[in-house]
Symmetry: none
Subunit: 202 residues, 4 copies
DNA sequence: GATGAATGAGGATTCATTCAT
DNA sequence: TATGAATGAATCCTCATTCAT
């Protein structure tokens, strides 16, 4: 009888289950994860799972959303409370943020979206609107702000904020697929930022 | 003219099945694809599948390898027959190659490796050694050649050939997950190449 | 009064299933018995079978063992509580025991071991050690006891306790294969015992 | 490409297949033997099998019958050409015959009949009439002849010729199930004959 | 609310049998 | 005849979901 990992109150249950599911999905992917396995990790009975999440699919969506919600706050929090120059912001908070993404739950969610996303367009919409679109808008915002301030020149980058995401995405995928092969993801991301700044600086 | 129930085509079967499987996996992913569905697409009975591939898993591996094999040839073919300058090669054949990857079967294989790779380390090894490592080595090779020729300066890029892959990878993922949202992947890749060349040119 | 769809009876399930399986195996043999058929006999769903027995093979082993276990007790029970003379014991309790074996579940298990035993050496070991070896040892024990007591003479029988089993085995096989042809198995066994006692009496 | 084991003429084919099947059935039993496996052993294609035997079941019956037929001749041949005394015949040719049965194809057929017999009553009939009944009748015949000649006394044995078979049957079963445990089947059979002769001698 | 025994649809795999060549 | 590629019914087993307790 392994002690249940969590022994908290009812109101925490959904989050506990959601966290257990995230872990399990991280290890095996969505399809290969048994509902019972999640229950075990959450220290909860199989039946109880269905009191909180009507189906496995719904649990999946809840997992994605829970991660999304936490990230959004972090992202937005950072953006709004800054008074750095555009370059300093990019080299500072933004870079830090980008560097920790590959090792964060976001990486797991990305994997899940790649595997299961095509069958859950609504979830992809949700993720896109709440994370990707916001993130891209924020980046575009910084760049445009820099242009306004005369720090940056006008360039195609404004329309391709994905260039900021590219090394992060590669790092995430690398971590999932080629985990054993070393890759200095921090340096990868830094160098990309360097190149981008060089490119857009007036 | 009823289709003949029997059609002996031993030679072509494996490839026919493999192609049908690629299609099916592309649409639904590995786990959600029924063996019978692949059989139907290949115009073949369920039982025959097992004559050529002992298990669904083996079919999966065959699919990955078949795509890999075709790409490798293409990749190597391009590299060895060139006498362009480093920059011209990168802006020419390499760029073309990179641009068409996101729309090619490689994109599907990437998705499969992200979903199922963690459970098939041998397959990941295979893919890494035959595609990724070779591709990265080739890129590193061009860059170093450019340095030797005095076209390029020494830079960190030599150790981060993944910077060339990053926009391609992002384009692939984008195509899988956010297909409906427009992204000019060609321009994305081009811009990255521009930035990289700016960065390494002497 | 519709039968309830659910009936929790964890305690009894294994035995219920095991008994249903014994019946089914008796009628059709192991290979020709469908798991679903056993489930139906046990009044249970197919899925539940797998909750108690991981595979059909494991169910098979459980059936053999369950029969074995019941017999062993009976066998040993008889042996240890006797104070009859050797001959009286053989003509009394032992003979009775032998007579009822051909009509008992043991006969079914024998059939199963003949059909499937060669593929389950561990099970054969188990059966041999727990039933055959013990039975033979017991018989040898009686005979030697009789020798010690002066009732019996020394003879080759001590090394061939299988002579006691032979008519029982023939009766079992006869019952399985030639059931419709009359054979007075009781008289067969009795006569063998007569001959054996004549042979070993001093 | 392993050389086919047999390379004879068409008229031998059925027997070749039948022999290959006997071997295969001996190793794995009927249910677990694949038709293809028999074909391979016979050095013949799967399709050809069906030219000679319409179904696997028919092949099975052919195997049983082929063994039966050969044994019957042997049995009858022995019986008719003798001019020994009853006891001498029993101790001589009959005993020899009995001793070699457990190691002969008959043992395999017995196993097959135990496993599959209940589903093939016609086959059991055939076997009973052609082998068992004849064998038992022959034994009864010897015994009665002995009585007529004054060698033997009247006894219950006349009605229980199965007492002659019992040790042979046990030896067969032992060989199938407990093959690794030593049992001197020759001595077992001899002792039984001794006992029987003691019992019936005037 | 909790539990976990029970259900059954669904899917991978096998193999006797067929048939184009 | 002879082959073995091709078929598909049959079967084991899994697992999301339900429900008696």
């Amino acid at each position: 009888m392994p002690k249940p990992r969590y022994q908290r109150r009812k109101e925490d249950r959904p989050q506990e289950i959601t966290e257990a599911a995230l872990e399990a999905f991280a290890e095996k992917g969505y399809a290969a994860t048994r509902v019972e396995e999640v229950a075990k990790r959450a220290g909860v009975s199989k039946g109880l799972m269905y009191l909180y999440f009507k189906t496995k699919e719904e649990l999946f969506k809840a997992v994605v959303k829970s991660v999304v919600i936490r990230r959004i706050d972090q992202l937005i929090g950072n953006i709004e409370t800054t008074d750095l120059s555009s370059e300093d912001f990019i080299r500072g908070p933004l870079l830090s943020f980008m560097k920790q993404v590959p090792g964060s739950p976001v990486a797991i969610v990305i994997r899940l979206l790649i595997s299961e996303g095509p069958r859950h367009p609504d979830l992809v919409d949700y993720y896109y609107e709440n994370v990707v679109a916001k993130g891209l808008a924020a980046i575009t915002g910084f760049v445009e702000q820099g242009v306004k301030r005369g720090e940056f020149r006008k360039s195609v980058i404004t329309e391709l904020p994905q260039l900021f995401l590219a090394p992060v995405m590669l790092s995430i995928i690398w971590g999932i697929v080629f985990k054993t092969r070393q890759l200095d993801t921090d340096k990868l991301i830094e160098t990309q930022i360097d190149m981008l700044l060089t490119h857009i600086k007036a």
